[in-house]
Symmetry: C2
Subunit: 322 residues, 2 copies
């Protein structure tokens, strides 16, 4: 199979988005969007760093990589529309395996009516998958990190630490309760698009997706909004069987274990009920985990362990350049 | 330097494009385009495949990578606007070297008023640079490969084979005439944006950029337009000192040596004068190199060597999956 034949196997037969003017097949793709704002992000996944063949199928590697990107759009309050995929293709991967990566992407892409409109396929020594996503949001309605204000409630969707627990289960051949649940959360996370799009436009929220662990994501909101926040340790939502793991693992995973692709955000206390309704409508757990306050000179995130003492939560998200 | 400090060193202090709503600093970038079509493409460059540290400076690697992407926009008739850069950063590259890559991109980006609005920085074993570009074109005015028609003139801008000649000079320590010219063409090619944007809207042209050699690019136009074409061997424009290289190298480089980032296209014979004027206005060489004809059942590209015989030109562009 040569490069051109390969592209033919992954090309869509038709496009779902009416805004596509030209998809795959020219020097570039063309689309038209005259009423909404356009949102775009890019994420790269490297074999051995972000995924391994022995813990995840090719299909799931593709699935999860696109989820990570869709999750960025969700965190902006944007409706997913397109993706472009660039792949560095080493000789130890077969074209069939790479096709499975695309099948995984297409499966999750399809469920959000996304179209694959471009990409590049090149050779190299390690598999690198770079996805560019494009989405739409009503004009001036994007959800930013800098929207938090003192007095806001801090919330998070779903439960935290599941993805890391799933990875632990996959890489440790012991018996665990709800093993299938955790491994599924690791391999096929669900981006919280429905929730993000369900929040009424008039409600101000700051939003961030939990790709790097909430310690990191909360700090980003605090810095961007020039506020501090405290998180109630007892309130951090975890799965009912999460206590089967050691205390140190629980702590590590729920605060610093990323890739749950939940949403963390803040909202005015007066609008909390509206968010609760939104979450109920999309059948998603929503938990108040802290509050925002103003602290002169600092933008810190603290854990409140219920003993009157605020303990500073330092960022320990994965740093690729350390 | 950690990942966040690194991003701060490459972030722009201000944005040139008025359509930027949010640049770097959130989960995604946001822009607004109410009147034009949006054009987007992605290209990946791998160390050892697309570039080598010993033949090109980090600055030039960045410069040329963004040129390749801008060239895709030019081939669509689109005005460059934004780029996003994803970089896989191995330990044998220093943060300073990677900053030089960004400086090279910024230099060429600045000359087209482009803004860097997003990206990703991850670790890996080999340097991989993935650039997503976004541009604008007047509604329904994009220049496509499928726009060629029987009777059209085939044209090309500039001279061909220079980039490969430059690479040859860099990797062979012999004396060559105009060495500086060729190496400059290899390291810092000029995308033909001015010419592409200068073509009046009413003129139908098919366009493709010469990234893989004209044999390949001409074949893409022929296939997309369901036509055949013949190229006049004598007419293929080369630099005045190009004959210093062996006949076989000349042939190889001008037809199959890519990365000149010139534009190949077709236009109705009646509009040829308009294109000549456009080229003159932007001070660019423009050469008629062939003609388009209809051939039942085939979409072939032939070379006419002046001996009445058409010789089929097969595609030999770089195939990454061979």
């Amino acid at each position: 199979m040569d490069e051109f034949q390969f592209i033919n196997t992954i090309k869509q037969n038709y496009y779902r988005q009416s805004s596509v003017v030209k998809g795959i097949g020219d020097d570039a793709a063309v689309f038209r969007q005259n009423t909404k704002d356009i949102v775009t992000a890019v994420d790269t996944f490297v074999e051995g760093v972000h995924f391994r063949k022995d813990t995840m199928s090719a299909y799931d590697i593709g699935f999860r990589a696109l989820v990570a990107n869709i999750s960025d759009l969700a965190a902006m309050g944007a409706q997913p529309a397109f993706y472009l995929v660039s792949i560095v293709f080493p000789s130890h991967w077969s074209p069939q395996e790479v096709q499975h990566i695309f099948q995984g992407m297409k499966a999750i892409g399809r469920s959000y009516n996304m179209d694959l409109i471009g990409g590049d396929t090149v050779s190299g020594n390690e598999l690198v998958l770079t996805i560019t996503v494009i989405g739409y949001v009503e004009k001036a309605q994007a959800r930013y990190r800098h929207h938090a204000r003192a007095g806001d409630i801090v919330f998070v969707t779903g439960t935290l630490g599941d993805s890391q627990a799933g990875y632990h289960i996959i890489t440790n051949q012991k018996k665990y309760k709800d093993a299938a649940y955790y491994t599924e959360r690791h391999r096929r996370p669900v981006p919280r698009v429905d929730f993000a799009l369900g929040i009424p436009r008039t409600v101000r929220v700051a939003l961030n997706d939990v790709s790097d662990g909430i310690a990191n994501e909360a700090a980003e909101i605090a810095t961007a909004s020039d506020v501090s926040m405290q998180l109630f340790d007892e309130a951090i939502p975890v799965h009912e069987s999460f206590h089967q793991f050691s205390k140190s693992k629980q702590y590590q995973w729920k605060y610093f274990g990323g890739e749950d692709f939940e949403l963390i955000g803040t909202v005015a206390a007066t609008n909390w009920d509206i968010l609760v309704d939104t979450a109920k409508r999309v059948n998603l757990q929503l938990t108040q985990i802290g509050k925002v306050f103003y602290e002169p000179e600092y933008n810190h995130v603290y854990i409140n362990k219920g003993n009157q003492q605020l303990e500073r939560l330092l960022q320990k998200g994965y740093n690729h350049l350390k």
